[in-house]
Amino acid sequence: MKTRVNLNINGESRDLLVPVHKTLLEVLREDLGLIGTKHGCELGECGTCTVLIDGAPTLSCLALPADHEGPVITTVEGLACAGELHPLQRAFAELGAAQCGYCTPGILLTARALLADEPQPPRQRIREALAGNLCRCTGYTKILDAVELAALRMAQAGGRT
C-alpha cells in the first residue's frame, strides 16, 4: 500500500507517493536521490543515518515519512548554505575529521544539533552528544577537535548555526 506524503526537506517541499512501510532513510536515498544520508545497520544502532527533524537528531532508518510531514528535515545536503560550507563542514575537512567519510554526514548533523543547543560545549559534552555515532576510522580525536574549532569560529562569527 502506498501513501501520499509531503516532506519539507532542506527547504524544499516534496510530494511523494511511497509504500507506507518505507523508511525515511530509504525515501531520502531512493526516491529523492539524497544519497548523502548513509546506512550502517538499518536497525538504529550506529547513528550513520542521522538527519535533523526540526533540528533534533533523528535516526532516519527508524523513521517513517508519514510521521514527519510538516517539520523541517535537514540532511547533509542541506548543511551548506548558498554554496558556503557550514563551519562544521569546513573544520571537518581542514582537520582530517573525515577519513573514509561514511559516518561523516550523520556526525555533522548530530554536531550541528549540539551546537545549536549549546554553542560552546566542553569536550566531554561533545563526547556525550556524539556517543551514538560510530566511527571506525578516526578514533574520534579529530572529530572532537573539529567540533571545537567550528564552535569557536561560529562564536567569533556571531553564532551562525
Binding site: F92, E94, C103, R136, Y140
Partner: protein, 819 residues
C-alpha cells in the same frame, strides 16, 4: 620541492583532496550508484554451519512476479577460487557443501530488494547436516569430519615450522627462561560501509563491476576464471571505500553473483550486503592461541625465542597461509633475538573465514611478546622501558629470520611516550597506592600504567601471485591547462592515498595539490597497483609517483631550458612556475611550460613503476615478512580499574610512531589515532564469537566497539627517521600503531591490580575472576591453560642471519638511474 631540498607541500597539514566531497555527502560509494533499468540482487545464505547440499529447488522463486533471474552454483563454471594461489577453495555459490552459516547458495535478481528477498525465501535447499567443528580443538579432535580435502593434515590448512639457530642451546645458557600461553580472540573489521557491488554486462559483451573493494586488481584477475569471460572484456572500478581495514580484500560472492545476474538479465545489478551479512563474510582477525618461550640474561638481553601459534582459520583459506606466517615472522624486527624458532598451524573450523585485519596476523604474537617482556622485566628487576631500549634491533642489520631492518626509531618512540606520560613517576606512585578500606557504597579504584613497543611492515615484499612486474604503477599526464592527471590503480579507503598521489607530484613539479587530478582505480585506465593492504600504498605508489613526476619534470625542464637558453640543470620548479632561480622574473608559468614541453616532446605522459627490493630470505617461506622498511611504535596507557565492577576506564594513551617522514602530519596523526582506537576495541571489548554455529552478536549494538565515551584522549608523537626506501623517507602509518596498544593495556591492568591478563579482550568478568584468584592466594592470571594436541612438522633449519649487515638498500627493479 625547492632547489634547496626543502619541501613546500610535503610536511604540510593539508586537507585531503576528497575531504570536501566527504563533508558534503557528495562522495558516491558503491551503494550510492544507480543505473537505468538496474535490478536488485540478494543472496540466499546457508543457515547451517556444516552441511551437504542434496538439492536446491528454485522453481517457486522463479515464478514470483518481479523476479528477473535466479542462479545457483550450477549456473557458474565449476571452478574454485581463492585470493591466494595455494588456497583455491571457495565457490561464490556453494554446490556440494556449505562450510559455515552465511555461505551463499543461490542468488536472485529482481525489480527491487524486497522482491529479491522474498524470492530467496522461496528457494528450497535440501541440506544434510554434518557435524559442525567450531574450535581448533574440535577440528583437530575430529579428523574424520573433513571441512576441506586439502591442506597439511585433517582440518589443518597450513603447518609451518622454521628454525633459525639452536634455541634449546640458547635456553640452557639463559639466566631466566619464561614460558607463557596467550589467547587473542578473533574480531572483525566492522567498516561503517557495508560491502556493495554494481555489475553491468553491456550489450557489447563487456562487463563493468563497481565495487567497494580494496583490491580491484586481484578481483579483476580472478573474475575471468570465475565467470569464464576474457579478462580483457572485464573492467573493475573501485568505488570510494567506506572503511576497509582488510575486510574488503577478497573477491566476494556478492560481486560474482551480481556479474552473473547482470549477464543473464541484461540489466545492471546491484547487491548491497546487510550489516548481518558483513559479520559473516568478514575475513577478520584470527583467534590465535600462542605458546612462547623466551630466554633472558640477567641484564635482560634475549638469548632466544621459540613461538608456537594455532590459528582458528574458519571455513576457507583466504589469506590464511600468509596470516600463519605473519604470526611468527614479524616479531623479530624490534628486539635483538639471536636465535628464533617458529611453529604455526592454521586450522579450519565451520566459522566465517579469517584473514587480514589491520596488522594482519601480527597483533596476536606482538601481544604475547610484549606481555612476556613485561613479566621478564619484573622478574629481572628492570624497568620495562629500559629493558626494551637495551635490546633494540640495530639499524641496517638483519634479523635471525633474514629480514632486513633499515631505519629503526623505536628507541626514540619509547623515549617520547615515557617522557610525555610521566612514566617513571606514575610507575612508582600507582604501584604503592594502597586501597584504603572504604564503605561499600564508595568505589574501589586502582590506577595502572603500562608500556609496549611494536613494528609493522611498510608493504609486503612479494605479491600474492609470483611475478616480476611492478607492484605499483603510476602514469602522469600534463595538460596544456597546467593541470596534471595521475592514473594509479590504488584505492583510497579513507587513509588518504589519493591525496598522497596529489601531494607528491605537486611537490616535484612545484604546483598545488589542487592542480593534480587523481583518477580512481579503474582497471581499464589505471596501471596496476596491487591494492590497499600490507601498508604498502604510500610507499609503493609514492615512489612510483615521484618517479613519473620526475620524468615529466625532466622533459618540461629541457623545453624551458631551451626557451630560456640555459642549461637544463639550472631549471627549478616552484610556485607554479618553471625557470632559473637567479632570474625568476623570466620564469615561465607552469601551463606555458607544459606547452613548451609538449611542443618539444609530443604528448607529455610518463610512467612510474615500483617493485620492492629483492631481499627475501633464501629458504621456503622466506617470501613472507620482507618489507622495504618497517615502521615502529611505542605506547603507554594509563588506566583505572574498578575493583567492584571490573570495569576498565582508559585515562590517557600516549603513542609515538616512527613514520619515516610525515608526508602530511594531519593524515599520519589520523591513521595513528584510528589505529589506537581500534586497538582499544580489540583489547577491551571486540570479539567475533559463536554459539551453536551462529555468530553470537552480528549487530552493531551487541558487537561492542568503542564510542566517543570509551575512547580516551590520545597523545600522538611522530618520529621521523627519513628511511632510504620510502618516498621522501616515508614509512607506513595505517596499521603499525594498533599493535602496541593491546599489550600496553594488558600490562597496565597488571600494574593496577596485579592480575596478568594473558587473553584479550579483557572483559570486566575477567578482571573480577582475576581479583578473586588473587584473594584466594592462587596465581593471579587469566588466560588459556591447555594447548591443542598437535605435532608440528619437522622445522626447516636455516642459519640465523642475526646481526648481519643489511644489503641492497634502495636497490630495486625499475629504479631509474637517470631520474
Amino acid at each position: 620541492m625547492s632547489d634547496k631540498g626543502q619541501f613546500t607541500v610535503v610536511g604540510q597539514p593539508l586537507p585531503k583532496i576528497d575531504a570536501w566531497a566527504k563533508v558534503t555527502g557528495e562522495t558516491r560509494y558503491a551503494d550510492d550508484l544507480v543505473l537505468p533499468r538496474m535490478a536488485h540482487g540478494k543472496l540466499l545464505r546457508s543457515s547451517h554451519a556444516h552441511a551437504r547440499i542434496r538439492g536446491i529447488d528454485t522453481t517457486r522463486a522463479r515464478a514470483l512476479p518481479g523476479v528477473y533471474a535466479v542462479i545457483t552454483g550450477a549456473d557458474l563454471p565449476r571452478v574454485k577460487f581463492g585470493i591466494l594461489p595455494v588456497s583455491q577453495d571457495e565457490e561464490a555459490l556453494c554446490t556440494e557443501k556449505v562450510r559455515m552459516v552465511g555461505d551463499a547458495v543461490a542468488a536472485v535478481a529482481a525489480v527491487d530488494e524486497a522482491t529479491a528477498e522474498a524470492a530467496c525465501r522461496l528457494i528450497a535447499v535440501d541440506y544434510e547436516a554434518l557435524p559442525a567443528l567450531m574450535s581448533i580443538q574440535e577440528s583437530l579432535a575430529h579428523p574424520d569430519v573433513r571441512i576441506h580435502e586439502y591442506g597439511d593434515g585433517p582440518n589443518v590448512h597450513k603447518n609451518v615450522a622454521l628454525q633459525f639457530g639452536d634455541v634449546e642451546q640458547a635456553f640452557t645458557a639463559s639466566h631466566l627462561v619464561r614460558e607463557d600461553v596467550f589467547f587473542f580472540e578473533g574480531n572483525t573489521h566492522l567498516p561503517m560501509e557495508q560491502h556493495a557491488a554494481v555489475a553491468h554486462f553491456g550489450p557489447d559483451g563487456k562487463l563493468t563491476l563497481w565495487s567497494s573493494t580494496q583490491t580491484p586488481h586481484y578481483v579483476h584477475r580472478l573474475l575471468p576464471r570465475i565467470l569464464d569471460l576474457p579478462g580483457a572484456h572485464i573492467r573493475v572500478i573501485a568505488a570510494p571505500v567506506g572503511g576497509g581495514f582488510g575486510g574488503k580484500l577478497d573477491p566476494f560472492a556478492h560481486e560474482i553473483a551480481a556479474c552473473k545476474l547482470s549477464q543473464l538479465t541484461g540489466r545492471p545489478v546491484k547487491i548491497a550486503c546487510t550489516r548481518e551479512e558483513v559479520f559473516y563474510i568478514h575475513r577478520g582477525r584470527h583467534p590465535v592461541l600462542m605458546w612462547m618461550r623466551t630466554g633472558f640474561t640477567k641484564d635482560g638481553d634475549i638469548t632466544g625465542c621459540h613461538l608456537r601459534t594455532w590459528l582458528d582459520g574458519g571455513a576457507y583459506g583466504s589469506y590464511g597461509v600468509a596470516s600463519t606466517f605473519y604470526t611468527g615472522v614479524i616479531n623479530p624486527v624490534t628486539y635483538k633475538i639471536p636465535v628464533y624458532k617458529f611453529e604455526g598451524a592454521r586450522v579450519f573450523t565451520n566459522k566465517p573465514p579469517c584473514g587480514p585485519k589491520r596488522g594482519h596476523g601480527t597483533p596476536q604474537p606482538r601481544f604475547a611478546l610484549e606481555c612476556q617482556l613485561d613479566k621478564a622485566a619484573e622478574q629481572l628487576g628492570l624497568d620495562p622501558a629500559d629493558l626494551r631500549k637495551r635490546i633494540l634491533q640495530p639499524p641496517f642489520t638483519k634479523t635471525a629470520n633474514h629480514l632486513t631492518v633499515t631505519t629503526i626509531g623505536l628507541g626514540e618512540c619509547i623515549d617520547k611516550v615515557v617522557e610525555a606520560s610521566g612514566w617513571q613517576d606514575k610507575r612508582a606512585r600507582f604501584a604503592v597506592a594502597t586501597v584504603t578500606p572504604k564503605p561499600l557504597w564508595r568505589q574501589r579504584k586502582r590506577k595502572g600504567i603500562g608500556l609496549a613497543g611494536s613494528a609493522y611492515m611498510t608493504g609486503a615484499g612479494t605479491a600474492i601471485y609470483w611475478n616480476s612486474m611492478p607492484h605499483s604503477g603510476v602514469i602522469i599526464r600534463a595538460d596544456r591547462s597546467g593541470g596534471v592527471s595521475i592514473l594509479c590503480g590504488a584505492t583510497d579507503i579513507g587513509q588518504g592515498s589519493d591525496s598522497i598521489l596529489a601531494y607528491l607530484p605537486a611537490e616535484v613539479l612545484g604546483i598545488e595539490p589542487k592542480d593534480v587530478h587523481v583518477h580512481p582505480a579503474d582497471t581499464s585506465l589505471t596501471p596496476v597497483d596491487l591494492g590497499s593492504y600490507s601498508s604498502r600504498v604510500t610507499l609503493m605508489c609514492g615512489v612510483a609517483a615521484i618517479q613519473a613526476a620526475t620524468r615529466l619534470r625532466a622533459a618540461i625542464g629541457r623545453a624551458v631550458a631551451a626557451k630560456l637558453q640555459v642549461a637544463p640543470g639550472q631549471i627549478a620548479f616552484r610556485e607554479r612556475k618553471v625557470g632559473v632561480p637567479d632570474d625568476w622574473d623570466r620564469a615561465v608559468p607552469f601551463a606555458q611550460a607544459v606547452e613548451l614541453g609538449e611542443a618539444m616532446h609530443g604528448v607529455l605522459a610518463f610512467p612510474g613503476s615500483y617493485a620492492p627490493p629483492r631481499r627475501a630470505g633464501k629458504y621456503k617461506g622466506g617470501g613472507v615478512g620482507p618489507s622495504p622498511c618497517y615502521s615502529y611504535s611505542a605506547c603507554v596507557v594509563e588506566l583505572t580499574v574498578d575493583e567492584d565492577t571490573g570495569w576498565i576506564e582508559l585515562d590517557d594513551v600516549w603513542i609515538a610512531h616512527d613514520v619515516g617522514r610525515a608526508l602530511n602530519p594531519l593524515l599520519v596523526e589520523g591513521q595513528v589515532e584510528g589505529s589506537v582506537y581500534m586497538g582499544i576495541g580489540e583489547a577491551l571489548m571486540e570479539g567475533q564469537v559463536f554459539r551453536k554455529g551462529l555468530h553470537k552478536h552480528p549487530s552493531l549494538l551487541e558487537y561492542k566497539s568503542p564510542t566517543t565515551l570509551e575512547t580516551p584522549p590520545i597523545h600522538t608523537f611522530l618520529v621521523e627517521t627519513d628511511d632510504p626506501e620510502g618516498p621522501f623517507g616515508a614509512k607506513e602509518a595505517g596499521q603499525g600503531p594498533l599493535l602496541p596498544v593491546i599489550p600496553a593495556i594488558a600490562n597496565a591492568v597488571y600494574h593496577a591490580i596485579g592480575v596478568r591478563m594473558d587473553q584479550v579482550p579483557i572483559t570486566p568478568d575477567m578482571v573480577l575472576r582475576g581479583l578473586e584468584l588473587k584473594r584466594q592466594g592462587k596465581p593471579a592470571r587469566i588466560g588459556p591453560g591447555t594447548l591443542p594436541l598437535f605435532t608440528f612438522k619437522e622445522p626447516l633449519a636455516v642459519e640465523s642471519a642475526f646481526g648481519q649487515p643489511a644489503d641492497a638498500i634502495a636497490v630495486r627493479p625499475f629504479a631509474d638511474p637517470t631520474a
